[in-house]
C-alpha cells in the first residue's frame, strides 16, 4: 500500500535518512521504533512530503508521491496525527473535527457520528475549546480529527507522548479497534513495548537506517531490541 524505496532525506547538509526502505500492507499495523533522533519523525514527515526526500521513491497506492505537494498527498486517503497533537486550541472540539473533514463533505455526518462513537469523551466536550482539555483528550481529538478525512492509512506520530499510562492504554485500545475496522495503521513510537505488542510488523530505525525488520512478536523477544529499547 505504502512503499519506501531507498529514501534519503537531508536537512541542509545533514543526512537524516540514509536510504530507508519499508512497506506497509493493507490492513496491518506497522510500527517504527527507535531512539531519539534516529529519524522516526523525519521518515514520517518525508512520507507527507515535508521535508521532501532527496533521493529514492515513495509509492502510495501505486502512485509515486515522492515529489507531490504535502497538501495534495494529505488528500489522497492518508491522514497523519502529528507529534505533540497540535489541535487548534482556540477552536472548539466540533470545529477541530470539522477542519479534519474539510475536503470531504458528502459523508461528513456519518464520519462525525463514528468519531464520536469511538471517543464518547469528545461528544461530552463537543462545544468546549480544545485548549482547555487534558492532554489525553487532546490526543483523542487529534486522532478523531485525522479520522474525519476518512483515511485508508492512518499515520500516528508518538500518540503516547506525555500521557499517563492509563490514558496510553485507552489510546492503544482505540488503535486496536481501528485496525479491527479494517484501517491500516503506521505507528511511530518511543514506547516500544506497547507498540510492538500491538503491531503486526515492526521496523527498528537507528541513525537514519532501518537495522531490523520482523513481526511485532519476534521483535518483542529479540535480544538486541530488548536491550536497546525495552530495558533489558
Amino acid at each position: 500500500m505504502l512503499t519506501l524505496e531507498n529514501v534519503h532525506t537531508h536537512y541542509g547538509p545533514i543526512e537524516a535518512l540514509k536510504g530507508v526502505s519499508l512497506n506497509v500492507q493493507q490492513g496491518e499495523i506497522v510500527t517504527l521504533i527507535g531512539a531519539n533522533g534516529a529519524g522516526k519523525s523525519t521518515l514520517l514527515m518525508t512520507v507527507c512530503g515535508d521535508p521532501r526526500a532527496s533521493a529514492g521513491t515513495i509509492t502510495w497506492k501505486g502512485n509515486d508521491i515522492t515529489k507531490e505537494e504535502t497538501s495534495k498527498i494529505m488528500r489522497t486517503g492518508l491522514a497523519v496525527v502529528p507529534e505533540g497533537r497540535r489541535v487548534f486550541s482556540a477552536m472548539t472540539v466540533e470545529e477541530n473535527l470539522s477542519m479534519g473533514g474539510f475536503f470531504n463533505k458528502t459523508t461528513y455526518d456519518q464520519r462525525m457520528a463514528h468519531v464520536l462513537e469511538l471517543f464518547p469523551r469528545l461528544e461530552e466536550r463537543f462545544k468546549q475549546r480544545a485548549g482547555t482539555m487534558s492532554g489525553g483528550e487532546q490526543q483523542m481529538l487529534a486522532i478523531g480529527r485525522a479520522l474525519m478525512s476518512e483515511p485508508e492509512l492512518l499515520i500516528l506520530d508518538e500518540p503516547s507522548l506525555g500521557l499517563a499510562p492509563l490514558i496510553i492504554n485507552q489510546i492503544f485500545d482505540i488503535i486496536h479497534k481501528l485496525r479491527d475496522e479494517g484501517m491500516t495503521i503506521f505507528l511511530v513510537e518511543q514506547n516500544a513495548n506497547q507498540a510492538l505488542r500491538l503491531a503486526d510488523r515492526g521496523y527498528v530505525i537507528e541513525n537514519g537506517k532501518i537495522v531490523l525488520e520482523d513481526t511485532g512478536a519476534n521483535l518483542l523477544v529479540n535480544e538486541d531490541v530488548r536491550k536497546a529499547y525495552l530495558g533489558g
Binding site: R86, M91, T92, F102
Partner: protein, 417 residues
Amino acid sequence: MQSRFTSALFAALLTLLLGSLLLGVTMVSEGIDLVLELSEPHKIYGLIIGAALVFIIQYFKQEVGAVTTRLRGDGSFEMPAFIRTPKQQRLWGFMAVGALLIFPFVSSRGAVDIATLTLIYVMLGLGLNIVVGLAGLLDLGYVGFYAVGAYSYALLNFYFGLSFWVALPIAGLLAALFGFILGFPVLRLRGDYLAIVTLGFGEIIRILLNNWTDLTGGPNGIARIPKPDLFGLEFNRRASEGGQTFHEFFGIPYSSEYKVIFLYLLAFALVLLTLYVINRLIRMPIGRAWEALREDEIACRALGLNPTVIKLTAFTIGASFAGFAGSFFAARQGFISPESFTFIESAIILAIVVLGGMGSQLGIILAAMAMTILPEMAREFDEYRMLLFGLMMVLMMIWRPQGLLPMKRPHLELKRD
C-alpha cells in the same frame, strides 16, 4: 519597606531629571545664540506634580497592581444581560443601525465629518482584521492597498473619466490584485520577517506614487477628484455639463450639508456591506481555515490544507477592502497625495485591530471610534495630544492587553463549584 521607598524615590527623581530636560527648560534665541532658560512656572509645577505622582504610584505599586489585575480580569468578557441572546443582539444591532442613520441629520457638520472618517477606519480595520486577526499574518504595509484603492479611482477618473461607482469595484479588484502579488513572496515568511517585508511593500507603493510624476503627479498629488453622485445626481452647487444636481432635482435650496450627509451615509453603507461580507466569509470554510492557519500551520498541512492558498486568500480579500476604503477616501477628500499613505496610517490601522481585540469585529468598531474621535476631542491639549494618546495606549496594554472586546468563541465550560 526600605527598598520600596528608595525605588519609588529613584523613579521619581528619574522622572524629574528626564522631564526637566524635556519640559523644564526652553530654548530662547538671543541674537545668533541659543540660550537655555527656565520654562514658565506652570510647567515646572506640572513637572513636580508629575514626579510626585510617579513616587506615589511606585510606592503603592502592589496596591495599584491589585486594582489593575482586577480590571484585567481573566480575559473573558461577559456581555451585559440584556444583549446575551442572539435575538437581543439582533435587536440592539438594528437599533444601533437606526441611530447611526438618524445621526447625521441631528448633529453638526463637523461631527458628521469625523464620523465619516471613523467609518473609513472601521472599514480598514475590518479588512486588516482578516489578515492579522483571523489569519494571524502581521501586515505592516496595509496602507499600500489603501493607496492603491485611492489612486485607482483618482487616476481612472483623471485619465478615463470613470465615475466613482464604476471605479469602486475596479479599485477593490486592483487592490486585491496587489494583495495577491504581495502574497507570493511572503508565503514562506512568518512573524517578524513577514512584518518587515510587508512594511517594505507599503513603502514601495508610496515611494512609487511619489516618484512616478508623469502618471501620478508625484508629491503634488491629484486634485479635483469628483465626489460620488447619487444615481447621477450631483451634490455641487452647479451641475457639470449634462448633469443634474441633487437640490435642483428635488427643488430644494442648495446646502453643502447634503454632500457631507450623503458621504456619511455612503460610508455607512460600505461599512455595513463590509461587515456583511466578512461575517459570511468567517462562517464559510475559508474563515475556519484562516483561523486554523493562525492556530497551527503544521496541523493545517497535516489535514491537507494548503497554507499558500489560505494565506493568499487572506491577503487578497483583506486588500480588496482597503481598496474600497481607499477609493471612498479619494472621493471624499477630493485630493490625494502620497502624504496620506505613510507608515503611520498602517500603524494606526494595526493599532485599531490590536486595540479592538484581535479578530473581534465589534471591538474593532469601538477601537476605530476611539482612535479617531479621541484625538479630535483632545485637540485642546494641542502639543500634548499625541502624548496623551500614547499614554492611553500604554495604559490600555497594561490593563487590557487582550483588547477592548476580545474575540469570543462560542463554547461551553463545565461549571465548577
